[in-house]
């Protein structure tokens, strides 16, 4: 036995200080553990962290203007946008030089489309100018100001130049402003004209409809989960298969099935007309609007509510209800005071799942939402695949991500994330 009264660090059997040999032993363990999770970490990094990082970067990135028009950007720094006059000849000369290089590399249309997001009409200015500039002699062909204005009168418009100047820095908050229905005006950010405000409405609608979908899911799922949890194992398994069945059919098929059910010549309308409950000429409009989206999405997301509720309810022993009744509680009181509070973690988990899934949902609103029932994600998809305004799509996505995080944080404050049980 070592002498426990000695001063100084405790030594291990081989004479090294105990602390150090313990740290060494633990380090080996840590490295081994890290190697075991390394593939997973790598996977998460590549498929999750990097894309999100890329998205966040794209939502503020704006190098295209300064990369394609480097001389113009420098020359334009001196110009006062509020002077009400177009810039002087030096800027046009720089532009001619930049555009000639850009047109040779076929990059001028890209800058055009980028700036066109901010000020419609600019893209055609660049297209036309690019075509002509290729044939110019940029060294001695000046002065260029009149030539540019002759190609497209937009080149004489101070507003167009203001846009180029505003978006010349490498980073911009323009996409975010745009995503919030704002624009850069003469005195900083200002609201877009009433008829161009679309995102704010879409965000509100997405939130509202996700909330309605979540609440419908809670109402429909609670009894089902209760029955599942209280049935004998064999019948419960049978019912569970029915709950999971939707997972085994394609999302597209299920959504299309709702089209068949809900459309004006569809099953429900035909039945109602046949029963005489609805007149033939006033068939109900249940598809291509918010109602259709809510019905179809509630159906599709229902399992995500049932499963966490079920797993929580399974752990609530029936003796609690019996105990409550033996203490004098009626069936309702026993349920409300004893069973329900214990099932809240399941409701919380299900709600978070369904809400977050639904604010990012895309296919179903696209198919059955019409114009009144589309979500913000449909707009994001539009910017990614049709308008190719990836920066704006990224900004919208980043806002959606922030909203989810804020909601998650609020839920944690109010209910407590420890109270969420997924199994």
């Amino acid at each position: 036995m070592s002498d426990t009264t000695q001063s100084g660090p405790v030594l291990a059997a081989d004479g090294t200080p105990l602390k150090r040999s313990l740290a060494r032993a633990l380090r080996m363990q840590k490295i081994r553990a890290l190697m075991l999770v390394a593939p997973l970490l790598l996977f998460v990094l590549i498929t999750f962290i990097l894309p999100i990082g890329d998205m966040l970067f794209r939502s503020v990135e704006n190098q295209i203007v300064s990369d394609t028009l480097p001389r113009t950007v420098v020359a334009l720094r001196e110009w006062d946008a509020n002077s009400g006059e177009a810039p002087d000849e030096a800027v046009y000369a720089a532009l001619a030089e930049d555009l000639k290089i850009a047109a040779a590399a076929k990059l001028h249309t890209r800058v055009g489309s980028r700036l066109n997001y901010e000020k419609p009409g600019i893209s055609s200015m660049f297209r036309k100018a690019g075509r002509k500039v290729k044939k110019w002699d940029v060294e001695n062909g000046g002065p260029f100001k009149e030539q540019f204005i002759a190609i497209h009168e937009g080149w004489g418009d101070p507003d167009a130049w203001r846009t180029i100047q505003t978006y010349s820095p490498n980073f911009t908050n323009g996409y975010f402003l745009n995503a919030a229905d704002l624009q850069k005006g003469a005195e900083g950010a200002e609201w877009r004209p009433e008829d161009e405000q679309i995102y704010w409405v879409l965000f509100k609608r997405t939130m509202f409809m996700s909330m309605v979908i979540t609440i419908s899911c809670i109402i429909l799922a609670y009894p089902v989960a209760w029955i599942l949890a209280n049935l004998p194992a064999r019948s419960a398994n049978m019912l569970m298969i029915l709950v999971l069945l939707p997972f085994w059919t394609s999302l597209l098929v299920r959504t299309s099935a709702w089209k068949v059910m809900l459309q004006q010549q569809g099953v429900i309308n035909e039945t109602l007309v046949w029963l005489g409950l609805v007149a033939d000429e006033s068939r109900l409009v249940m598809i291509n609007n918010q109602f259709g989206t809510i019905v179809a999405m509630t159906h599709i997301l229902l399992p995500f509510m049932i499963l966490p509720m079920y797993s929580v309810m399974q752990t609530i022993q029936p003796t609690y209800l019996r105990a409550a009744k033996s203490l004098g509680a009626t069936n309702w009181t026993a349920f409300w005071r004893v069973y329900f509070p214990q099932s809240v973690p399941g409701i919380g988990a299900g709600s978070i799942l369904v809400f977050i899934l639904s604010i990012g949902y895309y296919i179903t609103p696209e198919l059955v939402g019409g114009t009144k029932g589309v979500f913000i994600s449909n707009r994001i998809a539009f910017h990614i695949s049709s308008s190719l305004n990836w920066g704006l799509a990224a900004a919208l996505g980043a806002i959606l991500l922030a909203v989810v995080l804020v909601l998650y944080w609020a839920y944690d404050k109010i209910v407590g994330i420890d109270n969420v049980k997924l199994g």
Binding site: Q317, T319, Y320, K325, S326, L327, G328, T333
Partner: protein, 366 residues
């Protein structure tokens, strides 16, 4: 107390049957009547229908046949929450999302009692189980024994006249169990409540109860005070189930003067008290407690029949000696003797003769 006339019975089961699946009777013909203030224990092997009886009394299961009466009125159609029966569950069933005080206050709240009355009663109930300082905690923050006491306090706080307890001490360690056994009986007698108690543990049943009902196969095999149950088992199941017991099998040769002469299967003759045998020629299983077996010649009753035995093992247990013998071809016959100064310590291999008083040896059903 054993013969209660129906007049002052508080809890009564009359010809009660119960089947869960419509094929097997879990409870077959249960008759039981308890006076007010009695502490009755249901004891029996697993699956013998004890919990089922308790659940029928509490109202969570319905009897398929027969009548259950409480204070003279049939309760078959009264829902559980109106029966006013306190219940302690095996796993305590304390509501995990409420504090201890809220748990206790729950039965008072559903009875629409005022806030100040409630608080006073909760405090009194907590003090009764010596848990006054724990009102603000959650059940998960208490030890098993503390939870058990809270469950007891909750079952008592609304002052029921009848309290049911289903193996309430099953999850506790031996020491705590013994302490709680004492506390529960003490409390029950002090408050004068009627208790139906279910347990697996026969020591618990014997030490706590006024009467014990031994269950097997859906029937009460014997209903008697602990001493009678131990000393005068009515059939071989009870004799086997309660305490340690030696059994020998044989045929009744004759019965005279209240003593049956039994010839064992290997030919030996013994005297026994006829309980479930009435005439010569019947097969019987005789039962004798290890502590009633005598091998000291001087103390053996005069003229008693004796059996030859071989000592197989001598076990020193401090206060007592346990000796395993081979008797009538069986080698699981035990003798228990007190560790006294004049006591003989047997050695393995020794040949001895054993005997007993005829009334300590009971000739039961085969």
């Amino acid at each position: 107390m054993a013969d209660v006339s129906n007049g002052d019975a508080f809890v009564e089961f009359e010809r009660v049957q119960k089947s869960y699946d419509g094929e097997n009777l879990v409870v077959k013909d249960l008759n039981l009547s308890m006076p007010k203030g009695e502490f009755l224990t249901m004891l029996g092997p697993s699956g013998s229908g004890k919990t089922t009886c308790l659940m029928m009394l509490a109202g969570f299961e319905t009897a398929t046949h027969g009548d259950i009466r409480l204070g003279g009125t049939s309760i078959n159609n009264i829902p559980p929450h109106k029966r006013g029966i306190g219940m302690v569950f095996q796993n305590y069933a304390l509501f995990p999302h409420m504090t201890i005080a809220e748990n206790l206050s729950f039965p008072l709240e559903v009875r629409k009692m005022g806030k100040s009355d409630r608080e006073a009663k909760v405090m009194r109930a907590l003090d009764m189980v010596e848990m006054g300082a724990f009102g603000g905690r959650r059940p998960a923050q208490l030890s098993g024994g503390q939870q058990q006491r809270i469950a007891l306090a909750r079952a008592l706080v609304f002052e029921p006249e009848l309290v049911l307890m289903d193996e309430p001490l099953g999850a506790l360690d031996k020491q705590l169990r013994e302490k709680m056994q004492f506390e529960i009986t003490h409390l029950a007698h002090r408050l004068g409540i009627t208790v139906v108690y279910v347990t697996h543990d026969q020591t618990e049943a014997l030490t706590m109860s006024d009467r014990v009902a031994v269950f097997d196969d859906g029937r009460i095999q014997q209903l008697a005070p602990p001493d009678k149950l131990y000393e005068e088992p009515q059939n071989s199941f009870v004799a086997q189930f309660i305490g340690e017991n030696n059994t020998l099998e044989g045929v009744v040769k004759e019965i005279s003067n209240g003593v049956a002469l039994v010839q064992l299967d290997d030919g030996g003759l013994i005297d026994a008290k006829p309980i479930n045998v009435s005439k010569a020629g019947e097969r019987t299983r005789v039962s004798i407690r290890p502590e009633r077996v005598e091998y000291n010649k001087d103390r053996m009753p005069e003229g008693a029949h004796t059996l030859k035995a071989e000592v197989l093992e001598f076990i020193y247990m401090g206060d007592i000696f346990r000796t395993r013998l081979r008797v009538a071809g069986k080698d699981d016959f035990f003798v228990k003797t007190r560790n006294a100064p004049d006591q003989v310590r047997l050695k393995p291999g020794q040949e001895i003769e054993i005997g007993w008083l005829a009334e300590d040896c009971r000739a039961l059903d085969a």
